[in-house]
């Protein structure tokens, strides 16, 4: 989602105290009022919980101390978890980016027929919208000691499913689509004539790939590495099921410290340790990689154009690799559908619709709650995204860069950390909202709106301000300009924000597991409960419902955009 196809913004000049009033006069009053409202919201829902978390970690009896951090780090398991998290993130990002590159390259360079391109696009979103735990369960039934592939197909006995390698591959399968989406945008935007020219000047295919295509894709590759790395670093559900006891990682350790050892401070400290590399990666990506994009957007789509870069042999190899990975994804998701239609997944495979009957009777409350929360969070997250993005890019307010950074914090933090911080912050006055839908909506809005922000900024930076200036100089006021000129330009970004907020509100669990309440519960939490209660069929049925629901809504959104005659943002840049 951080793919920005542009130069960095200039920093706004800092006002001197003396002429603050004159300084502020430069800004549009509407924008200033809006910025105050936004700062209050960001303060309450991002900075305040973060302060509470740091307070719990570092203040003991009113004194600042590192003792809780040293106490946590004195345990070898926690130090191991820190190392493991970094190692896992590194490997997942390298392998995930590699696979993502193969997919993106095949999609944009192998002259695939339309049907194949649609097939790849349909399969590749599956891991991104899948609810947690169920995929890990499907992995267990596919690759476990008596798994479908390991035992029934290949006859391997005694294979072990727990540990680094299974966690690694599960995360690669889940997060390589992020790499794909980033790299596809980048590869599509490389002017094909560059490759053609190099080729016609006598370069071999491999030489052209190495000296033209690859260097132009390098910033995208770096971006994708960082994206996948941070996704893996924050991942909670997969390690919880597959890492086992020999491969502890930080997000699960933090959760276990709290729920198993009843040690809230220790959990907060572990979260803080996790926060450091997350912020580092975020800054690296935001302020280093994003500056290195040389790609220019021409508006011409290059997909489907004949390219000389891939010969037939390479095309079939690439396609073969993509089909192999896609089949694996299809198999795993097929397992989930299968699990939702049988009596006892893994033992009694008699067909039944009982699980769906349960879903639409006992599951109705969580379905209603989740949909209500997701549909409320969706417009809020989308609006927050374009508002912040617009104010920041058009320098309508002072301190825009700071606002952008603050609005990204909850995204950069692992979900468990956000959840705990919210629990700490919002059960006492002045902000008593635990147990309400508001806290869940706020968690989603402030954690997932950054997609919309980034996408808005990326879009707006490609649009010359002169278009808006022309409108203003012709006598339109700011609101008219925004409505008539800017809105149509950033509508795709709004929809990207809507899509991501909705998808996450339907599927995320790590942040909200501590926030659901007697009045408001979520499908993802029900999936976790069903899985721990041995109700695997229920867990599978809930998951199938989530996947179908997200597919319907996101495709509906894209359909609306297409009706409005606008390209979806996915066709230009990645949004997740």
């Amino acid at each position: 989602m951080f793919t920005s196809l542009n130069k960095s913004t200039e920093t706004a000049k800092t006002p001197r105290m003396g002429n603050l009033r004159t300084h502020l006069r430069k800004y549009n009053p509407t924008a200033l009022v809006l910025s105050i409202i936004l700062w209050v919201a960001l303060g309450v829902f991002i900075l305040y919980p973060l302060y509470k978390l740091l307070n719990l970690t570092f203040i003991q009896d009113g004194v600042f101390t590192f003792s809780s951090i040293t106490r946590i780090l004195s345990r070898r398991g926690n130090r191991l978890a820190f190392g493991n998290s970094l190692k896992l993130g590194l490997l997942v990002s390298i392998i995930g980016t590699f696979i993502g590159f193969i997919f993106a390259f095949t999609r944009t360079r192998a002259n695939l027929p339309k049907a194949w391109r649609l097939f790849i696009d349909a399969i590749i979103v599956l891991p991104l919208i899948s609810p947690p735990f169920t995929l890990a369960l499907a992995m267990l039934f596919t690759f476990g000691p008596r798994g479908f592939l390991t035992y029934q197909v290949f006859g391997i006995t005694g294979s072990s499913i727990y540990g680094m390698w299974s966690t690694l591959w599960a995360e690669v399968l889940t997060y390589f689509p992020l790499a794909y989406m980033t790299l596809r945008g980048v590869l599509e935007n490389i002017d094909l004539s560059l490759e053609e020219n190099a080729f016609s000047m006598g370069g071999s295919r491999w030489h052209v790939f190495r000296s033209v295509t690859l260097p132009l894709a390098i910033p995208g590759i770096a971006n994708s590495l960082l994206l996948v790395f941070s996704a893996s670093l924050a991942d909670f559900a997969i390690p919880l099921v597959l890492a086992g006891h020999q491969f502890p990682v930080l997000p699960t350790q933090a959760y276990l410290q709290i729920t198993g050892l009843f040690d809230l401070q220790g959990g907060a400290s572990l979260s803080f340790i996790l926060l450091v590399p997350s912020i580092l990666v975020f800054l690296l990506q935001r302020y280093w990689v994003s500056r290195k994009h040389y790609v220019t957007v021409t508006g011409k789509s290059s997909s489907g154009t004949e390219t000389p870069l891939v010969n037939n042999w390479a095309r079939y190899t690439l396609l073969g690799l993509c089909i192999a990975v896609s089949s694996l994804i299809l198999l795993l998701y097929g397992m989930i559908v299968f699990g939702s239609l049988v009596k006892a997944w893994g033992a009694n495979h008699t067909f039944t619709l009982e699980n769906y009957r349960y879903l639409f009777t006992h599951g109705v409350k969580s379905i209603k709650d989740t949909l209500l929360i997701a549909f409320t969070a969706m417009p809020l997250g989308g609006l927050l995204g374009i508002t912040v993005g617009y104010l920041v890019t058009r320098k309508l307010i002072p301190g825009g860069r700071l606002m952008e950074f603050v609005s990204m914090i909850n995204y950069a933090l692992p979900g468990t950390v956000v959840g705990i911080a919210y629990l700490l912050a919002f059960n006492d006055p002045p902000f008593m909202i635990t147990g309400t839908a508001t806290i869940l909506i706020a968690a989603y809005v402030f954690r997932y709106s950054p997609t919309g922000i980034r996408s808005t900024i990326a879009t707006l930076q490609q649009i010359d301000t002169s278009i808006e200036e022309a409108s203003t100089s012709l006598g339109a006021d700011m609101i008219t300009t925004v409505r008539k000129v800017t809105v149509p330009l950033i509508l795709p970004s709004l929809f990207a924000g809507l899509e991501v907020t909705f998808t996450r509100a339907m599927t995320a669990i790590s942040a909200t597991i501590f926030l659901v309440s007697v009045n408001w519960t979520l499908i993802t939490v029900r999936i976790l409960e069903s899985a721990t209660e041995l109700e695997l069929g229920h867990a599978a049925a809930f998951s199938v419902f989530v996947i179908v629901m997200v597919y319907v809504v996101t495709n509906g959104l894209r359909g609306i955009l297409r009706l409005l005659g606008l390209a979806t943002i996915q066709e230009k840049t990645s949004v997740y």
């Binding site: 191991l80 006891h245 729920t259 809230l264 809020l380 041995l534």
Partner: protein, 333 residues
Amino acid sequence: MRKTFRLTVTTLLLALIFSVSVAAQTIDLYSIMPESFAVPFFEAFTAETGIKINFVRHSAGEVLVRLIAEKNNPRVSMVFGGPADTFAAAVHEGVLESYAPAGVEAIPELYRDSNNYFTGIALNPIVFLTNKGFLKDNNIEAPTSWFDLLNPVYANGLQMADARTSGTGFNRIASIILALGDEDAAFDYMEKMHENVQVYTKSGGGGTVPVATRQATSGVFFLVDSIETARRGYDVEISFPEEGSIVSVEAMALVKNGPNQDLAKQFMDWMVTPEAQSLYAKHGIGFLPARPDATVSELVDVEGALFFNLDLDWAGENRQRVIEKWVDEIVGF
């Protein structure tokens, strides 16, 4: 932009309105007992009194964290189910309120807190759960001694709960300490058993699915999870260690300063009645009732098994130390 703003405000207001909860004649509670076991009780109580029960199900640790975080503004009136040592920890944190349900004398003193901070509602022993297909293929009987689990045939096949995350794990360690007589012998034993362990799972019942589907071969679990596995049609056998194991007390308690306490007290009174206590048998739930005179399910056959009670004072004082020792000496980090 103003339109945008207006829309934002309206939506925020709507969200706030949605979030105001309706509180009349309802009990809000945290259930540590799995939903499928707890709901029959809630439904029976509602049918009898008209009082509705709203609940959310969490693991014991999550409930405790929430009670502590919500200490100043409790969100629920009571906690339902969950092992007594969690309740002992909650008493220590000062989040529970003492209440003796009417007729509590019918529940043996062993199964309730002496200061009435919590009351036992069910019993749940630690047992072995083994895959029958595996037993048949290897031509062996289900384990009947802790030492049977050291058999190399179980190599890389055992699953049981991680003591750091699950009350089941701590109850297993305590069982072994009591069964073998002292802590040193227990840790020697656990070091040997560790060699056969495939994984220590995060949740207490997390290993039952792998055992049921033969991804694992055997493990140490609570009876209720094991009976549930069998009841769902998985081919498994439940057995008991002859050296004995702990019977954990499932409890309930009133939350200090919680809302609608009178209704919660009414529910707690009802929970100790013979009618309520016999619902486990009626619904085939694998708990033993806390009231000796209540009907016991025929599924729960504990004939001849030796059970210990967990000394909650000892558990409270030694829990952290024993778990850390287990992590250092057995898991290895």
